[in-house]
């Protein structure tokens, strides 16, 4: 299930089996001048998973989500295989893109790639003192292809929403130093480190994270730099089994989207709540999202998305329930790909097309064939 079927390196379209890893795709297409049009923050995902979650990247405001670049897919529903696209079996296509695997098994997909000249990124770094400044800076840089902000979620009061904004473009050949121009697609294969043990509980308690966040904020030099494509998109992939820093109990993720008009007020309330909890992670990510995609359960829609990880503790689970409530009050929604704990009402509040999705499943009897722990918990 991880084979390439074909690759047209003139048109930049790939057909592959759904189990192909994104990292393998990049290894094959990047040296020939192509890159995935949308990529999540890790390379260790399959193409099928990217479709099922309709993943977004740091370029959603301009490029949409992954499924906006999918031309067609083959879907196995029981004993039949359907080819689905915008024009063929369109109801299946809209339900499958972002449908969390609940419409059948994705076998193969054809999608477009993005032409690039190099394996480097031109990155601009901005430090922003407050949430207001961060949002102003993001709104002022919407023409930037990639845009993502790291937020110090333990900063509070006058520092609430203190952020580092990373803007980036794919570098062109003449952006590279002369010695690199001969091999524009060379990638630095940094050493992969592996987290050797589960970290003890205190390692991620408030003080170390507070210190880390301060040091990280201070270390980010504002200005322009050339960075490696892997460093820009996949910083955590160089640390294998990074999840072990959360200790034996593991972690839970939370990601919500808020509509544009509600973003400033909603984000302020979320960050206040998180800072009060004093137990958030060092990786909190704020992104500007563009227009809603066609997928019935597709997550991204115009506004802002906030993503973060928490140690899995009873207190944090209660905190995340409060974040759910704030999200709903501001007309936002929860990202199914990150969810492990929300409830049916919170989910339904954010997805106006949920009933359409259920209808597609019922029409073809898929609701009895394909379920998951999540679909049962959330009554999808």
């Amino acid at each position: 299930m991880d084979r390439f079927v074909s690759f047209d390196d003139r048109a930049g379209t790939v057909t592959c089996e759904a189990g192909l890893l994104l990292s393998d795709l990049i290894d094959v297409v990047l040296p020939r001048g192509w890159f995935p049009p949308v990529t999540p923050g890790t390379r260790f995902v399959t193409i099928g998973g990217m479709i099922a979650s309709d993943v977004h990247g740091k370029n959603h405001h301009g490029s949409g989500s992954f499924c906006d670049h999918v031309l067609s897919l083959d879907l196995m529903i029981g004993d039949r295989v359907l080819t689905c696209s915008a024009t063929e079996n369109g109801d299946f296509f809209a339900a499958t893109c972002g449908g969390m695997g609940l419409t059948g098994v994705i076998l193969r997909a054809t999608f477009r790639l993005l032409a690039v000249e190099t394996a480097a990124m031109r990155q601009r770094t901005l430090r922003l003192q407050t949430l207001e400044q961060a949002i102003d800076a993001i709104e002022a840089s919407l023409e930037s292809t990639y845009s993502v902000a790291w937020v110090d979620c333990l900063a509070s009061g006058g520092n609430l929403g203190r952020s580092v904004l990373f803007l980036a473009e794919h570098a062109q050949v003449n952006d590279l130093s002369r010695e690199h121009q001969a091999q524009p697609f060379a990638r630095r294969r940094g050493r992969r480190r592996r987290v050797p043990i589960d970290f003890p509980t205190f390692a991620l308690s408030e003080l170390p994270v507070r210190l880390f966040n301060k040091a990280y904020y201070a270390a980010q030099r504002p200005g322009d730099a050339l960075v490696d494509i892997d460093t820009y998109f996949y910083p955590l992939d160089s640390i294998l089994e990074w999840n072990r820093i959360y200790g034996r109990r593991g972690f839970v993720q939370f990601q919500c989207g808020l509509p544009l008009a509600e973003s400033r007020s909603g984000l302020r309330r979320l960050l206040e709540q998180i800072a009060q909890g004093r137990d958030a992670s060092f990786l909190t990510v704020l992104k500007r999202m563009g227009a809603q995609s066609f997928g019935l359960l597709s997550f991204p829609f115009e506004g802002y998305s906030l993503a973060l990880d928490f140690r899995a503790t009873p207190e944090n689970l209660l905190l995340i329930d409060r974040l759910d409530a704030i999200t709903a009050e501001h007309g936002g929604r929860i990202y199914l790909a990150k969810d492990a704990r929300t409830n049916a009402a919170s989910l339904a509040a954010g997805y106006p097309r949920l009933d359409e999705f259920r209808a597609v499943r019922q029409r073809y009897g898929l609701d009895r064939r394909f379920t998951s722990l999540q679909s049962r918990r959330l009554e999808i």
Partner: protein
């Protein structure tokens, strides 16, 4: 040492065979995938050609019933490296009571591979050089009660490769014996394998390639197996026969 190309992979459907095909293609070698019902491997063929700038071909092959010389002569391109991956673990308990099963295990692990590699040796000798790689097994290092039908056939293959190496030493044909130990594949799916002694098809492929390049003769994929089998070899037979290994 550079790798003589193209590379013929006999038993290309197996997990180890697939991994070996990828490893050679990644090095830029053309590959010929040989297996039973080889049409099924068309998807693998196109996958290899998309991933790597190489040519990949398919060849119908059954280690048990085709004629080795005719098979090699029928290939569109003559291989310069021949890798024998075919193997059959079988069910030991069944082999003990079922002559057909025992015969199948013996033929698949020894008679068939030896006949094909003998034919390959004639072809490479006539060609003036090349490489023969046989995937044998640590199970062939000493017959044990739990798997000696498979093990004895692999012991035969190991001895065959050793003698063939000797025979071809001055003929510019490298003969490499690979002993993987436990490998997590479909063949061993469901078995409880000790993690420290178990390797992956990708690791086997990497070792095959580097051993060929550095001109090695006999390679244990995980070096610990050389020590383990050495110790097992030291146990005196009067004691060994009473152990359950």
């Amino acid at each position: 040492m550079s790798i003589p190309s193209p590379v013929l992979i006999l038993g290309a459907r197996s997990d180890i065979g697939r991994a070996i095909a990828h490893a050679y293609a990644a090095e830029g070698c053309d590959v010929i995938l040989a297996a039973r019902r080889v049409g099924d491997l068309e998807r693998d063929r196109s996958d290899l050609m998309v991933r790597y700038p190489v040519k990949a071909e398919l060849a119908e092959f059954d280690v048990l019933d085709a004629s080795p010389d005719a098979f090699l002569a029928s290939l569109g391109t003559q291989p310069a490296t021949v890798v024998m991956v075919v193997g059959l673990l079988g069910e030991h308990e069944r082999s003990l009571v079922d002559d057909a099963e025992a015969t199948r295990v013996m033929n698949t692990n020894y008679v068939g591979p030896a006949r094909y590699l003998l034919a390959a040796a004639r072809m490479l000798e006539a060609r003036g050089g090349g490489a023969i790689i046989g995937v044998s097994s640590v199970a062939g290092d000493r017959g044990r009660g739990s798997n000696f039908i498979y093990g004895s056939a692999k012991a035969g293959l190991t001895a065959f490769l050793s003698g063939l190496r000797n025979h071809l030493a001055k003929k510019n044909v490298q003969v490499l014996t690979i002993k993987p130990g436990f490998v997590a594949t479909r063949m061993t799916a469901g078995m409880k394998l000790p993690p420290l002694l178990t390797t992956t098809p990708e690791d086997v492929a990497r070792v095959v390639l580097s051993a060929q390049k550095s001109g090695r003769d006999v390679v244990y994929v995980k070096p610990i197996w050389r020590l383990i089998m050495f110790i097992i070899g030291l146990i005196p037979e009067p004691i060994f026969k009473k152990l359950s290994l």
